[in-house]
Amino acid sequence: MSDHTEAAVEHVGGTTQSFIYVWIALLAMTGIEVLLAYEQVPTLIMLTALLGLSIVKAALIIAYFMHLKFEKLSLFLTLFPMLVLCIILMLIFMPDSMRALHMRVQ
């Protein structure tokens, strides 16, 4: 069992400045999302833009706040390709939602 003291163990990570920059970027993107909601754009474009911004925000949180940028690449490769693949597999149901809409009894 290791008996390192707390101060002796140095963990590599971001700086306070980088965390504040990420926080400002996240707030700015949230502001853009709210503005976008009140623009008269087609639903599909709006959905794509909102989802795109959300994915960028999620990536920033995972990389900096959750520290994954500073972990070994093997951890990322073990966890995330599987998650992304499973989410893509769930999308297989989506065309059916449109089919149900068009086959509905009018």
Binding site: E71, M90, M94
Partner: protein, 209 residues
């Protein structure tokens, strides 16, 4: 031990100590986060499926109070993530007093989020007459999917507040190590991350213009 055996033992994929160079608690939390992310993904997919297949999906979220409230809630969660990062940073430098202060600030952000969310729920229930099983627009699926999704997320926030309370109490008493604070931080950031998808997909996409 022969030289080749010694090399094998050191190799991360052949019995080496820590292939990911993280502790078991942290790796366990990552596995939980991935499985929980799949749960939320399924719920978000369900919400989107119901929305796409329903022509008269309601847009009950007025700018005031719903969008203002949910925007402030987003601010609370994002800011609490920053304070949580600072708590982990302080613990890394062995400053337990600052760690407790930052965790308490994070708890404050979480409680503000829950308070605002409950107010928003009550506004929806009392003024728009939305319940999990019925509403005025004849689209009961709206209430069902909305309350399931936001309710599960709020449950996560409440559990996170309790979890952080325990961590702050123990850290203040000189117990727990850096990894324990970092693992609780991972959970909190995940709760924040999930909201980054719920806020635009549920609130902004159904804003009343």
């Amino acid at each position: 031990m022969s030289e080749s055996e010694a090399v094998a033992m050191e190799s991360v994929w052949q019995g080496g100590g820590s292939p990911y160079a993280v502790g078991s608690k942290k790796f366990g939390m990552w596995l939980f986060i991935i499985s929980d992310a799949l749960t939320f993904s399924a719920l978000l997919m369900t919400y989107t499926y119901c929305r796409l297949s329903t022509p008269n999906w309601p847009t009950p979220f007025h700018f005031s109070p719903s969008i203002i409230f949910s925007s402030v809630m987003t601010f609370c969660l994002l800011s609490s993530s920053l304070t949580m990062v600072m708590a982990v940073h302080s613990m890394n430098h062995g400053n337990r007093k600052a760690t407790v202060a930052w965790i308490l600030a994070t708890i404050g952000g979480g409680l503000a989020f829950v308070g605002l969310h409950l107010t928003e729920w009550l506004n929806l229930i009392n003024n728009e007459h939305v319940t999990p099983f019925s509403n005025e627009w004849g689209v009961p699926l709206f209430g069902g999917t909305f309350f399931a999704l936001t309710g599960l997320h709020m449950t996560h926030v409440i559990i996170g507040v309790i979890y952080l309370g325990i961590i702050a109490f123990a850290v203040g008493r000189g117990k727990f190590k850096y990894e324990d604070v970092e693992v609780s931080g991972l959970y909190w950031h995940f709760v924040d991350l999930v909201w980054m998808f719920i806020f635009p997909l549920v609130y902004l996409m159904s804003a009343k213009i």
